[in-house]
Symmetry: none
Subunit: 226 residues, 2 copies
């Protein structure tokens, strides 16, 4: 379970880091809003803990930035108790709001409550289609015809995972590019053509006429299990 913690106070950052590391989280930290967005794009955290009062790029900006491409749970920490701040943050897309000072036990419990909602998605993390069986958790692809293992590279996994998590739904090029290569490559549609082809070569029965990794010209791609 990977957690991104963003706070401009190094002391709090360090304290939270220790707390979550002790609870077996994989911790990524950021000292300001811009860094938070950058690190989120790099690391794909399972949950984001965000201090609202950061200089330059505010917490609200970061929420908007994240929500532009991701549904990752966001927990906001703030020193201000104003109702208006809470409402603003929650309506911007945050999932929970905690005011300082807070007890670490409570913070941990709230983070557990937020991540718990996501887990059921992960349980059904495999799919069998065409001639292959894909397991997203085990990161394995097995050909059902002869039981051979098929190897996917890191980039291929990230792309396939994004498509499979949204099985049946159209996933726009923007979302795919942001999830796999980061927001700075949002216009590099050539990457998609290249790696979709790779995935088709490895997963489709007839890569020339794909049945599961479908193109929707001008919009994006769609994974259909059946």
């Amino acid at each position: 379970m990977k957690i991104l913690i963003a706070d401009d106070d190094p002391q709090i950052l360090r304290a939270l880091s220790i707390t979550f590391t002790a609870s077996d989280y994989d911790v990524v930290t950021a000292g300001d809003g811009a860094a938070a967005l950058r690190r989120a794009a790099e690391h794909h955290p399972d949950i984001v803990v965000l201090d609202l009062g950061m200089p330059q790029l505010s917490g609200i900006d970061v929420i908007h930035g994240l929500r532009g491409y991701s549904t990752v749970p966001i927990l906001v920490i703030s020193g201000r108790m104003d109702s208006i701040d809470k409402v603003q943050a929650l309506d911007a897309g945050a999932d929970d709001y905690v005011t300082k000072p807070f007890l670490t036990d409570e913070l941990l419990a709230r983070v557990r409550a937020l991540t718990r909602r996501r887990l059921p998605l992960r349980e059904e993390s495999g799919a069998t289609f065409g001639d292959v069986r894909v397991d997203l958790v085990a990161r394995s692809v097995v050909r059902t015809t002869d039981g051979a293992d098929i190897h996917l590279t890191r980039t291929e996994w990230r792309l396939l995972e994004t498509l499979m998590v949204n099985a049946g739904r159209l996933v726009t090029q923007e979302i795919l590019l942001t999830e796999v290569w980061g927001p700075q490559h949002i216009r590099d549609t050539g990457y998609l053509r290249l790696y979709i082809r790779q995935l088709r070569k490895k997963l489709e029965r007839d890569p020339g006429t794909p049945r599961h990794l479908l193109t929707e010209a001008g919009m994006g791609y769609r994974f259909v299990p059946e």
Copy 2:
């Protein structure tokens, strides 16, 4: 959006009832834990707001009872600020925890945050009419007669989406042209004739006599679900 409010204090119950009714929620109330479980089973609420300090069946018991069969979002209200209570409630399966006294604005925002996360997971994000089922989120059209997928292009989706979010209302040519092709094409009504035809071919049972994508001569078009 249906909300179940459970509190043993009739005054609070009444106040919350008024607040949520005013925000267009469909409100169901319960005065104790047993009633809460009973009414939840009857009404299948979209969210549950639960006072922790109820007599007989406590809030924690109600959470356990609900979680036995449902994943409905649960927001807990409590007069006790003890960290131990919060942790217990959250780990029992609650999704959020608010301590009295609280501001109604904040409570409303938290309820919005909880229900928002559920919506995209729901299957029902589109409309069924004629022989097709349209899902705007998944960007999919399925013919109900034989289950075949119907493919729409980017422009067709944009036009259909504009009409569907204004279901039942007349949408002027100017608005459609601006939304789909941009303000510079506000006079190109030929685009509309072309793409409305495409949509009718793909969605209407008898494209010659449309029943859902209706022309209003000289004004615009109207989408009617039934």
